[in-house]
């Protein structure tokens, strides 16, 4: 399939698709970060993760409307407020869900899957009732529009760069929180042995709730970032959930570095193959390779070595 192109063209194709892949990578990282915390650390299969993302997207949509109608002079900066609001809205919903549902199911991980699937149905219908069934998009402020022209064949969209910066920021924040803060130490202690952590004086219920809320909050940020790239509908969340789980599992649940690495490899192979064989076949092939690798290395690429 490469023979039809000259070497220079191939380089440009790889560079261009590679860059498109970087944007996809940023999206995957944002989606998977929250799940890496909720699923990778806590072991909760949150099938409603996509709906938490969509909540972030709708919050962004509402914020942009609010700014356009009431503070038009500040419209350029609405997105920064929207990200913060999206984080807190999703995190708040996360606290409620953890309190009302998840905390009863920590010892039955497969049941969290069913219960959160029910939750995702409820949330989807709620979005449909509140915002309508149509997809909504936001107006991107001027400073995020346009693109840099690197060479005559390669151009770089600014909103893509912004999403990437956001992904880097979120990843670094989570890494610092998990591996450098006192709270992160508590989270990891609770995850490894809930009873023992409780016995040494960690308030496990509080740690669980905050961890779940953090994961959901990051999902909200991811949803906020989506609005830069595409439009949002009530059931958009379901489109991403399989990819997100696969990214986390492929990287090795519980390993933050693994999540980033697997998001990178999946997004790059998807994006580069897309040019040669079309979107759906590229996706099939990527997922298939990931599943086959997982069959040989079920614990994921970069799993932590733990004694079971």
């Amino acid at each position: 399939m490469f023979s039809d192109f000259s070497a220079a063209e191939l380089t440009a194709i790889f560079a261009m698709q590679g860059f498109a892949g970087l944007i996809l990578f940023a999206v995957f990282v944002l989606m998977a970060l929250g799940l890496a915390i909720i699923f990778g650390q806590m072991g909760v299969i949150n099938m409603a993760h996509g709906e938490f993302m969509i909540l972030g997207a709708y919050v962004t949509y509402m914020t942009s409307n609010l700014f356009a109608n009431h503070f038009p002079e500040l419209f350029g900066s609405y997105f920064l407020f929207a990200i913060v609001l999206a984080f807190f809205a999703a995190a708040l919903l996360g606290v409620i869900v953890e309190w009302g549902l998840i905390r009863f199911l920590y010892h039955r991980p497969l049941d969290t899957l069913l219960a959160t699937w029910g939750l995702s149905l409820i949330l989807q219908q709620a979005y449909r009732s509140i915002f309508g069934a149509r997809e909504v998009g936001v107006v991107i402020p001027d400073w995020l529009m346009g693109s840099y022209q690197l060479t005559d064949m390669i151009e770089v969209p600014i909103n893509g760069l912004f999403v990437m910066a956001l992904a880097v920021l979120a990843t670094v924040t989570v890494a610092v929180l998990m591996y450098r803060s006192r709270w992160g130490k508590q989270v990891r202690a609770v995850v490894q042995n809930r009873d023992m952590a409780g016995a040494v004086g960690i308030n496990t219920a509080r740690v669980d709730r905050l961890t779940f809320a953090l994961g959901c909050g990051i999902a909200g940020v991811a949803g906020s970032a989506f609005t830069m790239i595409g439009s949002t509908g009530p059931s958009s969340g379901q489109l991403y959930i399989v990819d997100t789980f696969l990214v986390v599992v492929f990287g090795g649940a519980g390993s933050l570095f693994g999540t980033v690495a697997s998001a990178f490899s999946i997004s790059q192979s998807q994006s580069i193959m897309e040019f040669f064989m079309g979107g759906s076949m590229a996706k099939v092939l990527t997922l298939l390779v990931v599943v086959i690798i997982l069959m040989f290395r079920p614990q994921g690429l970069f799993s932590l070595k733990v004694r079971r």
Partner: protein, 385 residues
């Protein structure tokens, strides 16, 4: 026959449940419903095949597959391909550029029948494929996963990805598979029109009969030594392994049986509905099938049938009049079942009704029933990963 008596194969309470189900499906529903509704129930029952398989895999084996839609779809497509070829005779498709091939291939400018369609000219091949293709796929997945001791959550996510892959593949390869619309416009089976009222009645009874065959196979497995090992494995996998059993083989076996059931269900759906499409293959329908099983009770093969019927009937009746509220209700049902009724309606029956029924039977027949060995206990299954 490894059972010493019929009673060991089918204890009194189980026999009673089988008889009641037979009464409901063979007598009550056909008498009470008109042909359109009965056809609808028949389609619901095609999901019961999947749910019964899931009881064996998930309830007994502790392996949750989120990819049962794959097997349902493979079975359904296998039969749909035969029916489509039968419907695409050169005379019926004379207006096409290439007569004699299915219409959607013609629309996608494919001029030759793809090689994997060729064998489906034979009905025997198609019927064998309905059972064998899903089993082979399940075998490959099962061997790859269980021999390497992948289980629990990871197995669920990988099977879910496989469901996603197959859906994307079917939709992407429009010319070969019919794409999003699926394989439609199926008319006859060996010249027999499947859309008449008479055909609906006959297909309903065929569906029920096949369901009972599957239920009896499931009952056989669950009462046999294999079933007992599965239950032991679900609770303490390592202990069973250290006792010298190859865990993986038991898991692969039960997963293949579940897949074969699902394939039959898919084929029965195709026959009764007259089409097959990727909307029964993907992630969402696969999870719905798990939920049918959970509502019915993940440890009860008969309960699974009732679970399918109850949820589907509620979806149809309630969903027709209040589509918005129905999704809320469905979400709440799932959450409620998981939180309050881990063993579904079958668990309710076993805990509250079955003791009274037992006492009544004792009084009627004057002898105490055998002690119930598999009482549904609200334990935490499927927690292993």
């Amino acid at each position: 026959m490894p059972f010493s008596s019929f009673k060991e194969f089918m204890p009194r309470q189980d026999l009673l449940s089988f008889l009641v189900l037979a009464l409901v499906l063979l007598v009550a529903l056909p008498l009470a419903l008109d042909v359109m509704r009965l056809n609808q129930v028949g389609k619901f029952l095609s999901f019961a095949f999947v749910a019964v398989g899931l009881v064996l895999c998930w309830g007994y084996g502790g392996i949750l597959s989120l990819g049962q839609g794959v097997f349902y779809g493979l079975g359904g497509y296998a039969l749909a391909m035969y029916l489509k070829l039968e419907a695409s005779t050169p005379e019926n498709t004379a207006i096409q550029t290439t007569p004699g091939i299915p219409d959607f291939m013609d629309w996608n400018r494919i001029t030759e029948l793809p090689w994997f369609w060729e064998p489906f000219y034979s009905l025997t091949f198609a019927i064998i494929a309905v059972v064998v293709v899903p089993s082979i796929v399940a075998y490959l997945i099962g061997v790859a996963m269980f021999k390497r001791r992948v289980g629990g959550v990871y197995f669920a996510i990988i099977t879910q990805s496989i469901a996603a892959i197959l859906t994307i593949l079917i939709i992407g390869q429009q010319g070969l598979t019919g794409g999003v619309n699926g394989i439609t416009d199926l008319r006859t089976l060996k010249g027999w029109n499947i859309h008449t009222d008479e055909a609906s009645y006959i297909l309903y009874f065929v569906c029920v009969a096949l369901l009972f065959v599957c239920l009896l196979v499931a009952q056989y497995i669950r009462r046999s030594k294999t079933g007992r090992i599965l239950v032991a494995m679900r609770g303490q996998e390592d202990r069973v392994r250290f006792s010298g059993y190859d865990i993986a083989n038991f898991k692969v076996f039960v997963f293949c049986v579940g897949a074969a059931f699902a394939g039959i269900g898919g084929a029965m759906f195709t026959l009764q509905e007259g089409f097959m499409s990727p909307s029964f293959v993907g992630v969402v329908p696969s999870i719905e099938m798990v939920i049918f099983c959970a509502v019915g009770g993940r440890l009860s093969i008969i309960g699974a049938v009732y679970g399918v019927l109850l949820v589907s009937v509620a979806k149809t009746l309630f969903g027709e009049s209040f589509p918005d509220l129905w999704l809320f209700a469905m979400g709440l049902i799932f959450i409620g079942v998981v939180l309050a009724l881990p063993n579904g309606i079958a668990g309710l029956y076993a805990n509250w009704v079955a003791p009274h029924v037992d006492r009544l039977l004792d009084r009627l027949f004057g002898k105490p029933g055998e002690p119930r060995i598999d009482v549904l206990q609200p334990s935490s299954q499927g927690a292993s990963s």
